[in-house]
Structures are given as C-alpha cells and as structure tokens.
C-alpha cells in the first residue's frame, strides 16, 4: 500500500460522494435547458438529500432486515468501488480488490441487494422492478465481462491500475479498433446499468414503465436518501471508469499535492463532460419498450465480441 494509493483511497470516495449529486444536478440542468426550461440548479439533488435525511423513517409492515439493509449494502459496495478504482491516482488503496471483475461483481452485488429489497416488500411493483432489473443485469453482465476481456487482453491483466498505467504509457492503443468497439459496448452497458434512457427513465411516474424506481417505491426518508445517493454514485463511478479506461490522462502518478489536484480536476472535467453528453443525448431518444431492450444489449454484446476478435486478429 503506497502513499499514492492511500491518497487516492481518501480523496476518491470523498470526491465521489460529494460530487455525484452535483453530477445528477448537472445532468438535470442540461436536460432542462435543452427543453427550454430554467432548471432547479445543480445543487438541487443535495437539497433533496438533505431534506430526505431529516425526514421520518418508515418501516412498511411485513418487510425484513433485507429491506432495511439493502440501501446500506448498495452504498457500501459503491463506496468500496470508489475507494479502490484508480479515478484520481494510478495506484489503488487496496490493490488486490482493484480488479475489473471484482469491481463489476461488487456493483452487481449492490443491484442484487436492491432487487431483493424490492421482492421483500411483497408488492407487485417491487417484484416487477426486481424482475426487470435482474433481467437487464443478466444481459448486461456478459457484455461487461467480454468488453473487459477485450481491454485486458492487450495489457495481460485485469488489474485496473495496470490497465490505466498501460494506456498512459501507450496512448496509441486507445484508438485501436478493439478499444473503440469495447468503448461503444461499454457505453451501452453503462446506460443500461445506471437506468438511463433509452433503457429506463429515472423520472417516470408511470409504475408500469419503471425498472429501478419500481423497486424503491417503498423507501422513504433517510433510506431513500441512501438509495438516491447510491444511484448518483453508481452513475459517477461508471462514467469515471469509462473515462479512465479510455482516457486516463491527468490522473496523478505521484503523491504530490499539485499532481493530486490535477487528478481531481481531470476527473471532474471528464465525468462532467461525459454526464453532459449523456444528458444531451437523452433528449434526442425515446425510452425503448422493455422487450426491445434485450436487442440493444445483444447488439452491444456483439460489439464486445468483435472487440475481442479485433484485439486478437488486428493486434
């Protein structure tokens, strides 16, 4: 465990926790402006969280510890990912956990916890949301792992630090066909995993079209605050991962304050730009019907497989 790793392990979670609601605020603001509205300002998600944390805690009758602990597990998994993934510094605080497979599995674990909570309520909507979320997860996982496979073959390791360092030393790799195909596949997967349009609409009011929202219909007050914070953090983490897998420039390679500051700024700018682009793109597309989503995901799976093939035959 190096000094650089420890700096990263402290700075990153603070940055992700503090910044991810702002990212959501920014994305809502971009969307509002494109729709001709004024928007609530990028601080609004933080106001929402502050208010939710002051509210009453509610325990719906018949729910169990699974329902109570799921938000905690959801945030904890994302927090661990925020600590170990090289977002700001190239070295990880807990290197043996900074593995792409481990990170993907951790994020899946959070989704599973929430799905179980949805089922635990015993409501029709909770079950429906859980079922849909798990279907999407089951289809996203293969794409994600195959895309990882494509990225790690060229480095010879699935360690995130190794992948990021290798890209830093050899920037030409980023524009190889394998990288580009894997990047497109990953974007689709991230849109699906974070529940954005066209897979899921985070601001829908219609229960029958919900995926993520349907699972959390029973959460109130501080529990809801955790769920919303976790959703925002997952979005930042995924975008940060995407940014640093393909464009790690600016990331701190030494533990000096200027380097770390540049690392923080670079991450903020990269994630902000990606979030803005995602929000802008969302204005132009409609939500897909649920049963068209698998076709989208199958397409991204194909791209990921092509990326693997390209990484072998065009290397």
């Amino acid at each position: 465990m190096s000094a650089l790793g420890i700096v990263g392990g402290v700075v990153q979670p603070v940055l992700i926790v503090a910044g991810s609601p702002l990212l959501v605020g920014l994305m809502r603001q971009v969307r509002a402006r494109l729709e001709g509205r004024a928007g609530a300002g990028i601080l609004q998600p933080w106001r929402d969280l502050r208010k939710l944390s002051r509210k009453e805690r509610i325990e719906p009758r018949g729910t169990s510890d699974v329902f109570r602990f799921a938000p905690l597990v959801l945030v904890a998994t994302t927090l661990v990912v925020a600590v170990v993934v090289p977002f700001v510094t190239t070295e990880s605080a807990v290197d043996p956990v900074a593995d792409l497979f481990a990170v993907v599995a951790l994020l899946a674990l959070g989704a599973v916890a929430l799905a179980l909570a949805g089922l635990d309520t015993g409501t029709a909507f909770g079950g429906m949301g859980a079922s849909r979320e798990m279907t999407i997860l089951a289809l996203v996982e293969p794409t994600l792992l195959v895309a990882i496979f494509a990225l790690s073959v060229r480095v010879g390791s699935t360690n995130l630090g190794a992948i990021v360092s290798s890209t830093l030393h050899d920037p030409a790799r980023v524009i190889s066909p394998a990288s580009l195909l894997a990047a497109v596949a990953l974007v689709v997967v991230i849109v699906a995993e974070t529940g954005r349009i066209p897979v899921d609409n985070p601001s829908t009011h219609l229960e029958l079209t919900m995926v993520h929202e349907a699972m959390v219909l029973e959460y109130a007050g501080p529990d809801l605050a955790l769920v919303e914070l976790a959703a925002a953090m997952r979005l930042s983490v995924f975008l940060g991962l995407l940014a640093n897998l393909f464009a790690p420039w600016g990331i701190a390679t030494t533990a000096t304050p200027p380097a770390v500051l540049i690392g923080v700024l670079a991450l903020v700018v990269k994630v902000g730009v990606l979030g803005g682009l995602l929000a802008a793109a969302e204005v132009f597309v409609a939500k897909l019907r649920l049963f068209r989503v698998p076709e989208l995901l199958a397409g991204s799976f194909l791209l990921a497989l092509l990326a693997v093939a390209a990484s072998f035959f065009l290397a």
């Binding site: 509610i58 904890a76 927090l79 674990l109 015993g122 029709a124 429906m128 089951a138 699935t158 093939a309």
Partner: protein, 662 residues
Amino acid sequence: MNLVATGMAAAVAIGLVTALVAVVIRPRAAVVGAGTALTGAAAVVAGAAATGGGSFSVVLPGVLPLSGVSLTLDPLGGLFVAVTGGVAAAAGIYAMSYMDTPDLRARGVQVALPVFVVAMVLVPAAASAGTLLVCWELMALASLVLVVAEHRRGPQVASAGRWYAVMTHLGFVSVLIGLMVFVAHAPDDSFTALREAGRNLSPSAAGIVFTLTLAGFASKAGIVPLHAWLPRAHPEAPSHVSALMSAAMVNLGVYGVVRVGVDLLGGGAVWWWLLVLALGAVSAVYGILQAAMSSDLKRLLGQSTTENMGLVLVGVGAAGLFASSGDQALAALALTAALLHVVGHAAFKTLLFLAAGSVLHATGSRDLDALGGLRPVMPVTTAAFGLGALAASALPPGTAFVSEWLLLQALIHGLPAGGVAAAIAMPVAVAAVALTAGLAVATFVKAFGVGFLAKPRSAAAAGAHESPFTMLVGMTVAAAVCVVLALWPGAILPAVQAAAGGAAVSGDVTLRLSRATGALSPLLLTLALVAGFVVVAGAFAGRRARREARLWDCGGGPMSARMEYTATSFAEPLQRVFDDVVQPELDVDVSHHQESRYLVQAVEYRRKVPDRIEKRLYRPVLALITAWGRAGRGLAPGSVHRYLGYGFYAVCGVLILLAVTR
C-alpha cells in the same frame, strides 16, 4: 499405517458397520445418520492427508474375482475423497432427523445411505479399471435405491428412478467399453500399467477411449446433452441424498474425465479438449437457462448443478488445451480454477439442497410459486439458503466468485498463448461463462427472493416451522465451510494445487497469479465491504425509531399474497428474451361470464418450459425403442404352443447349421 490409510480404513469400516447395523437391527435414523457423518469425517481426514503428500496403496487380490481390488490415493483422488467426505458429513448429520419419516426408515434405504457414501469414497481411490468400475456400479445402485426411496409420494418418483437407472447404466456401459479398449492395449488393468500404455496408444485408439469414457463420465456429471436424468432424479430424491448426488456424485464424473484424459492418457489431441470445453460451455448456459425458468426449488438446484459442472468442464477443457499447446503453468491455473470450483460447488450445493430440504420438511412444497414469507418462521434456513445463493451467484463475498475469477483469468491469459484454436475458443468460453454468471444472479435472486422473502403465498408456507436441531447443525456445518472457502480460499489452495499438479497461484490472504499480474483478496474485499457498511450505517442511518406503516397499496388494498410476483412472473421477461432457445409452452384460458362475452370471469395462465434438447434428442430415440418393442410384441402373443414352436425351429436351425458347417 499412515493417516491416509487409517482414514480410508476408518471410513470404509464405519460405513460398512453402519450398513450392517441397519440390516440387522434396523436402528433409529439418528444412528445411520451419525454413522454416515463419521464415514464422511474419516474420508475428509484421509483425503486431506493425501493432498498433503501422504499416500497409500493397497492391493486385495482375493476380494473380487478376476482383477481383485486395488486402491491408491494420490492428491487428485484425495481431493475428491475429501470433498465427498465433507458433503457426507454435513448430509449425515442432517439426515439424523430428516430420515425420521416412514419412507426413509425402510431398511433398504437405511442400508443404501452408508453404502452409497463408501462407494463414492472408493471411486477416486480405485487404482485399477476393474475396481473403478465395480465401485462406480455400486455407487449407481445405492443411489438408485435412495432416489426411489420416497416412491409412495407419486408416480413421478418412479419415473425419475427409471430415467436415472437407464441413463446411469448406459453411461456405465460407455465407460466400461472405453476402459476395456484401453485395457486391451495394456498388460493388466492397473492404472500404473494403463498410464504406461497410454503413452504408446495410437491417436485413434486414444480418441476412442477418451470419447467413450467422456460420454459415460459426462452423463454422470449431468453434462448436456446427457443431462436428462439429473433434473428428474435430484429433485425427487430425499434432500440429503440430493445433496450427496448433486454435490459429491456428479464431481466424480469430472474426476473420471481428469483421471482418464489427463492422467492415464497423458493429455491428447486438441480436439478432445475443445470438445470438453464446448460441452462445458453449452451445459453451463443451458443448465442455468433452464434453472432460471424453473419454479421448482429442487429442480432449479439440480439444473444449476448442470451449470456448475459445465463451468468446471470449461476449466478442464481449457487446461487440456493449454497443456497440449505446451503451456503447463496456464494449464495448472485452469485446472486449479476448475478443481476449486468443484470444492466450492460441493460446499454451496450441499448447503442449498439441505436448506431446500428443510423448506420441504416444513411446508411439504417445493413449488416456489407457493412459497414465500419463510424468513420470520425459519430464520436459520433462510440465512443458510441466502448464504448458499450468494455463493452460487458468483458475487463477492461468495464461494464461486473466487473460482470463477480464476477461471476467467486463465481464459484471458490463454488468448495470446494458445494459437488460433484458443483465439476462437477463449472469447466464446468467456462469453458463455459471463452469460452464465449473469443468469445465475437472476436465478438465485428469484429462488431466494421469491421463496423466502415477502409474504407466504400458500397456507402451507404460512404454517411453516423451523427444522429440528440436527438438520440445522448439518446446514451450519455446510455454511461454515462455505464462509471459510469464500473468505480464505488460500486455506485449501495447496490441496487443490497438489491435485492439479502445478502451482499457478500463490498467496494466502491475497491470491496472486504466478505467471501474470493479477491478484484478488476475497478477505480484504469483504473487510472493505464491511467497513463501508459500518461507515454508511454510522453516518447516515441514524438512530431514529421507525414508524410502522402499511405497505403502499395505492390507497386501496389490502394487498393479498395473490398480488405478489411469483417465480413464474419473475422469470417471464427472461423467458421472453430467450424465447427462441427455451420455447416455452404457453396456455392462456379466458372464461367469460354467461351474460356477456365482454365480461371476463377468470383468466388461467399456464406455462411449461420443456427441456428442448430432451424433446429433440431423446423423444425420437424413445419412440424408436417403443416401435421396436411393439414390433417385437407380435412375436410373443402369450401362446405356449407358439413358444414351443420357436424352440423347435431354433433347435432345428442350429442342427442344420451344424450339419452344414461341419
């Protein structure tokens, strides 16, 4: 006598004495269960000692005619003996009260249990083809008795028994022929002689031996397309037997493939291992897909066994592929991953089947659509199943996560190493493993979330009660092993590497690949998760009391259990996605009111997901056999005169033949 020999002798002796006691005095279930558990414990000691470097060898020429019995325990066999013993120990303790039903107290059933365990312990210790085949058959027969133990429950048990009997014997015949071809090229049937002969075998002969034995062993491991018996027999067997079959017996199929393919034949052609890899990949995806559609708890677990054995064979196939391209270190890594998965699967599948048995014991139902709401009344069983489900879905911190991580590492590093065959096989294998992992998550969320959480969906589930003490102890033993394997796989890594015949992974808390950069520490990961959980709970959760409120029912309500999502409805989106593969049979009946056809009285929805491979592959064969039998029936009308006539004509025919040829 060393520890291995003592352990083996103790295991066999205790098992046989228990069986003998069961024959003579027909004791209480607790005695048989305890004897079985002790047999298992002794086997664990023997197996562990064997993987630790101890060895033992014994030849008993007089026990069986022709070949005699010869036993040897090397690290590979030791690992499988230990795994079998561990499963038997947990299942034996569990059986002490689970077997306390009229059906399971029958003498034959009580005798068969320890005999089954002894046979399973002897299979990996067999050191000659004859011994292997005898133990194999003994294992099959004993398990067959156990499968049909509860035949009074309904005709489906007998049907399962028939399927199992036929399939296991066809498999046996296949292994028998394969080994006999092999033995024909060797001076005698001992493994030492066969190993010697394996080096000089012509490629075509070796190919025939490998294919035939592979078919037999794969059918025992429930590999597609020879899996048809597994989702029938495993659910219908009593639950402790299901655990023994699903967690211990199927492993021996893998043992057979590794023993014959890697050890005796010494590797072989690339196509062998591509075949194994392909079979594994297809089984993994098909098995988990069937499990995802299943709403029968034990059937789901059985199908997940097919999936896990498929993953193991992917590892074995990859290992063979790397070995044949000369990369021994990578081969060892792949085989280590496969064997670690065998151990992990044994642990969590035991736990899952025992927990499922506990549910069956409490509610009398295996139908997920009728379960639910078990958490408040069966806390231990719920926790046990939850732990097993976490382990089975390959999520951290779970047992299967570590082995699947190693497997994926082996596949990733195999891409540059293996040439064109690997370049095509590895991505497809990764895709199959990945799809399997995703579907496994959905499957086990369904099994746990629908089966145990929420509200009870039937009166039986509402009236459930926690199981007796020894059943809980059995589950706890399996759960403890699961936890140790998940957090500290380094504990059994030396044993697994000794069995795999090469050290590809080093480390204790943190597993490091020796050949490439790559490290994973399940313990640190878990600690980080726990730390994160504590931080979040401390910072955000607060200590304010919760107000209990009614579920949000849109102001109407009350919501009944009929409005809950069931296992069938949970799987519906997946079923739509994989419509072309699983081809479900849907049946929707809408009945209208008499007064108006616009008023719907009731809608009945039935969904059946038939096994498509079974339908396409087995039905034609079965139809052919039936037609053959029907044709033959004309010859046997039951008339004694006709039969005497047959005899007369046959004798005449033989006489004429003799007269002509002499």
